[in-house]
Amino acid sequence: MAATDVDIFSNEEKRNLSLGGHVGFDSLPDQLVSKSVTQGFCFNILCVGETGIGKSTLMNTLFNTMFENEEASHYQNGVYLRPRTYDLQESNVHLKLTIVDTVGFGDQINKEESYKPIVDYIDTQFENYLQEELKIKRSLFNYHDTRIHICLYFIAPTGHSLKSLDLVTMKKLDSKVNIIPIIAKADTISKSELHKFKIKIMSELVSNGVQIYQFPTDDGAVTEINSSMNAHLPFAVVGSVEEVKVGNKAVRARQYPWGVVQVENESHCDFVKLREMLIRVNMEDLREQTHARHYELYRRCKLEEMGFKDTDPDSQPFSLQETYEAKRKEFLGDLQRKEEEMRQMFVNKVKETEGELKEKERELHEKFEQLKRMHQEEKRKVEEKRRELEEEMNAFNRRKVAAETLSLSQPLKKDKDKKKSVNTENQSGVSFSNSKVMMAKANMEPLNCQSWWQAIQCCTCLVHSDAWRQGLF
């Protein structure tokens, strides 16, 4: 905001005037201050370091409170970030503090992917802010800013140099967030070793092109202190929330059998320096840097990715609107094309299915025809058989009649043969053979009956006796 204002002023003609009396606009900073105090401040810290290196303890020591924290285990599958927001108040200033912890950092055997969750988290916070900024109806003044203002990178006090994981991670983070490297658990390094260690770390960072946060040295009031502090980076800190009696005061310290390490003693560690720099002097500058440098860089990259440019190929200033319109048209065109494609596909599919159905219909029809034909065949055959049968019946009847006329003058034996042959014919001729035999019998043996009634009865008896039926006579 302030940068563009200055530009406008420099383009126009301006003259310096001196005032005749006291106007009163020197109260502007105070107005600004009272407005920000009522609004409240917001600060986000990201702590990156191995499990157990002292991140939570340092936070507790810095802000002099006990933030609730359970110890993390070493056996996480990957790195994940744990943000916690607290509301703090000191005199009449409200601070909304968010502390983001990296859980599981440095514990895995393969640490090649360890930096990714951290970078993703930072980008997500930037993205959220960008989305809010691009909204039509936006409320930036009461938006909870979750962008990370400062990343405290905890270096393990090996005394030799940075670890390979540290170097890789810091390289990935330096363009996205302000980094302040810290040597943790510094009560394990003696003074001479510490000096060598710090020099080694800084030279490694410089030779690998890692940009850590430099305290600003262009702001008159704090130039001196900032430039001297810059020379003390990285800060070697010790954290403690326990109090130990030293002299007649109770100070925060760590009690060893060989001595007491006091947290706020400048000759013991750089904790006081860190607190000065981080909280008392440069907190506002950190926030500004995050917004003006890191966030702007992210925004530029993101928008360029989407296709927006500040100047088109003819070096004419583009407006966001035109680009937006162009993009929209492109998008709609895309959409239409896709619709067409889908419709085509659909039509093709329908045609295919239709074809298949037709095929099936034809097959069914054929089958039906076949069955019908078979049916007819069968019918015909059956008809034929019936005709044959009838013919046989007729033939038989004729033969019977012929046989009757013959049998009047034939001996019994021939009857027997005939009977035999008759019996071997099909069963439908059985009744005929019986009546035939009966008649033959009637012609052979004169019945000893007195009257015609008796004769008939005798005949009936004969017929009904089993012996007749079987033709055993």
């Binding site: 191995e50 499990t51 157990g52 290196i53 002292g54 110890e71 993390a72 285990s73 070493h74 056996y75 514990d107 895995q108 055997i109 393969n110 640490k111 090649e112 393990a156 006090p157 090996t158 005394g159 030799h160 140099s161 940075l162 670890k163 390979s164 994981l165 540290d166 170097l167 890789v168 943790a184 658990k185 009560d187 394990t188 003696s190 003074k191 490694e204 030779s207 690998n208 760590r254 009690q255 060893y256 059998p257 060989w258 001595g259 007491v260 390490v261 006091q262 000759s267 013991h268």
Partner: protein, 369 residues
């Protein structure tokens, strides 16, 4: 040394009491002592752990020499893709006529790369190589001068900055606990207050048990040892894993020159028992248990390796039918499961065919009749 005194006192006792029935083999310990002094001892110690945990400093403090004079440490950049190397330093040191050939095996690069998958493989390969070398030498024809390069003890350095064992620690110890005696140490213990030391030790002990890691166990004392010895032994066992501090520099403390570290808030003395467990480690490693470490390596780890090796070789021989092994091994008459099954099948087939044959014969017989 306490051991000397013990043996000597026994010798004296028996001479006084039984003059007539005195045979004299009570002098055997002395004879052993004399011969071993003449022969000299050797010991191979391996140190493993990430860079910057004070391994070299501790070794220097243990043996009161400077083994790492011209060492070049790598930058962080160079370490991103570093592989583990194995380096050996051998020194001959002498004390009161007793010679010791000390070999220190160092593992630079362990756990330093960004991707540490299987970073313990070169170490296990090295240990196996030493075993194999000894195995071949032992089975050779001329066994006069066998060089024993087997690793007798591995000091594993656990960083004190965490809450206990990390995955890479667990994996390393699990890969090595059947091959070498592991003695876990908590390094750079001057960043832990006494309470924190206790908590961390309990944590590490629990995790070692939980993961089933077999670290080196001190042998149980005999019941007829002196009380003092038993007490010492008990203390030793309760103190594991040892929390140690090492130092390359000598400082002035309480009017004496001692090895220590100078801080603005005090002086840490390496040999002060209330400051760290360095003295206990030194006593255990050098003064009382060095030979036991060697014995366990020979009797347990090496024998396991040897048995495993031989088993593999014989199973291979049975399959390939080759006889070009370096050892004269008889092929064992244990048949394969596979061949047994085949034999059984064939037997059954034969039986069936015989039965059928008999039946047919019978039938033919009947028909003829």
């Amino acid at each position: 040394m306490t051991t000397n005194i013990r043996y000597k006192s026994r010798f004296m006792k028996s001479e006084e009491s039984e003059d007539k029935q005195y045979v004299g083999f009570a002098t055997l310990p002395n004879q052993v002592h004399r011969k071993s002094v003449k022969k000299g001892f050797d010991f191979t110690l391996m140190v493993a752990g990430e860079s910057g945990l004070g391994k070299s400093t501790l070794v220097n403090s243990l043996f009161l020499t400077d083994l790492y004079k011209d060492r070049k440490l790598l930058n962080a950049e160079e370490r991103i893709n570093q592989t583990v190397e194995i380096t050996k330093h051998t020194v001959d040191i002498e004390e009161k006529g007793v010679k010791l050939k000390l070999t220190i095996v160092d593992t630079p690069g362990f756990g330093d790369a960004v991707n540490n998958n299987e970073c313990w493989k070169p170490i296990t390969d090295y240990i196996d190589q030493q075993f194999e070398q000894y195995f071949r030498d032992e089975s050779g024809l001329n066994r006069k001068n066998i060089l024993d390069n087997r690793v007798h003890c591995c000091l594993y350095f656990i960083p004190p900055f965490g809450h206990g064992l990390r995955p890479v620690d667990v994996e390393f110890m699990k890969a090595l606990h059947e091959k070498v005696n592991i003695v876990p140490l908590i390094s750079k213990a001057d960043c832990l207050t006494p309470n924190e030391v206790k908590k961390l030790k309990d944590r590490v002990r629990d995790e070692i048990e939980h993961f089933g890691i077999k670290v080196y166990q001190f042998p149980e004392c005999d019941s007829d040892e002196e009380e003092e010895f038993k007490q010492m032994d008990k203390e030793l066992k309760e103190c594991t894993p040892f929390a140690v501090i090492g130092s390359n520099t000598v400082v002035e403390a309480r009017g004496q020159r001692v090895r220590g570290r100078l801080y603005p808030w005090g002086i840490v003395e390496v040999e002060n028992q209330s400051h760290c467990d360095f003295v206990k480690l030194r006593n255990m490693l050098i003064r009382s248990h060095m030979h036991d470490l060697k014995d366990v390596t020979c009797d347990v780890h090496y024998e396991n390796y040897r048995a495993h090796c031989i088993q593999e070789m014989t199973s291979k021989l049975a399959q390939d039918n080759r006889t070009d092994s370096p050892l004269p091994i008889l092929p064992l008459p244990t048949p394969d499961v596979e061949t047994e099954r085949l034999i059984k099948m064939k037997d059954e087939e034969l039986k069936r065919m015989q039965e059928m044959l008999e039946k047919m014969q019978q039938q033919m017989h009947e028909k003829d009749q």
